[in-house]
Amino acid sequence: MSDETQLIVIILLPLVVAPVCYVVPSPRVAWLLTLATATGCFLIAVQLLLAVLDGGGFSYHLGGWAPPVGIEYRLDVFAAFVLLVLTAIFLVCQLYAGSLTRKSGIKEIPLAIAPTFFAATLLCISGLMGIVVTGDVFNLFVFLEIASLATYAMISLGRQRRALTAAFQYLVLGTIGATFFLIGVGLLYAETGTLNMQEMSTLMPELVDRRTTFTGMTFVIIGLALKLAIFPLHLWLPNAYTEAPSVVTALLAGTSTKVAFYALVRMTVSVFGLETIADTPLPLILLIVGALAVIVTSAQAILQVNIKRILAYSSVAQIGYMVIGVGLLTVEGLTAGFVHLFNHALTKTGLFMAVGIMLLNTVDAKLPSVAGLGRRMPWTSAAVVITAFSLVGIPGTAGFISKWALLDAAMAQEAYFIVGVIVIGSLLACIYLLRLLDVMYFRAPEKVSDHMPAETLTVPFPMITALWVLAIACLWFGMFTEHSLSVAKLAATTIMGVQ
């Protein structure tokens, strides 16, 4: 297969397998199919990244129609980088989801609807990968909706009825966000007469002073900000993350917001252009909302009792760090944002997986319920310690690398305010995670009969393997940073068009 063909195959593969998964009678077969698809996508993504690093970007023309008339799928270093993160997280999550086909999975998703779940994840990842590779703004909208619809369905699979209202809330806000994006695309099309990203970016500088263009850009950015859950548009995220089944939350934390971040960077930096947005208040706004996200939502995380909710608020804070990286408008800032995207995907997916495993042996995800779990589930708890350290940014873990890179970028711009925000944010993260570790390791279970189910379930092998793959990755990319940092830097330089 040529590289160009692989670009379309990686999107089509999950899209084609999804309906098959839905009709196969056995959850086990559905799982194996999904796992095979995930492996295939991951291998293709690795090859694509190597191809891009080797010979630069390339594009696939759908139906043989050359752009700007036809739709093209375009791959550059940034896209290939995000594609690899997506497929890697997807693969690990599918490994973890193997538990759904066993007895222990009943706590998450009923066996009967497990095939539906696998079909939905495949549709979701197909949409997310589509957003990353497409070179057409309207096509981006379509993929955004494919991914979103699958996500709403997955969130509603949660055990409690609250999952339904959380899914509905996300549906309403997500649809408003997507429609805003659509309005923006329409206005930009009215001005530029094209939907192709590359052509639009060449036409942008002349048209930027028009009010329609400016309005269009605003709509696009706000629409994507809603999907990305940038503070203060994050209201749907804590509910959705808390109520969704753990495996869904793990998948969403590692992929969904990351892709929305990708789309925001793609639209602002490469379509609208660096000079264009430098003249608008956008960088300043991004810095402010990023800083507010870090401080406010980290503080909110401290007040929560539900572990999943603590981590969900922390996710909004982490999005803040990434947005700050973009707001700095330098190669270093973007690099930091991209590395943080990668590191946070590993870290947060790992943490949510760990919570899912802990839930097997606790009544709920509230803090008191996990008291004494450090002794009862030593391996899971050890992985929680590693990933939690990575989230805080302790040296030697992946989280440290990206926070250091961001500090560096802020120092270079002499943005000491941002430096302060990052430090305070890390301290706040320390507080809410130490609270969790403290309860796990140093508190005895209050009432044994209340908080512990009678039998201790053995943790299924796929779940613990998936968790430890991510925990080790957190350590690995904290110590051997050449690959993640250099690719992120290359991605940042190519997207900014500087050498």
């Binding site: 609250r162 649809t175 408003i176």
Partner: protein
Amino acid sequence: MTDFVLQHFNYWVVIFLMMIGMYTVISRGHLLKKVIGLNIFQTSVFILYISIGYIEGGTVPIVAGQVVGNTGDVVYANPLPHVLILTAIVVGVSTTALALALIIRIRDAYGTLEENDILKLDQDSDG
């Protein structure tokens, strides 16, 4: 001023519908009404796109009895926004279907569709 208003008549309709839709989504507590508001909001965008494709004096973009590329003086309306909006309508229909499916399940689980009642039920189950 009147000219300006009248010339952009369709765009005023778009803005009017958009505001009605948004306001309904925000102000109504009933989940079904929220979905209706969402639909009105999306419909306004459809009209926006179709307005963009309109060209004064333009005709239906179908080349009849002529070779493509030799269309003479005939001006055609831009067909692309129409095609785009067909896709967006499909997306809108799917979203509505999913929203209604969720509403049915919420109704089964809570016995009500009023947002305030649902919030209250959730708080009660916490206590």
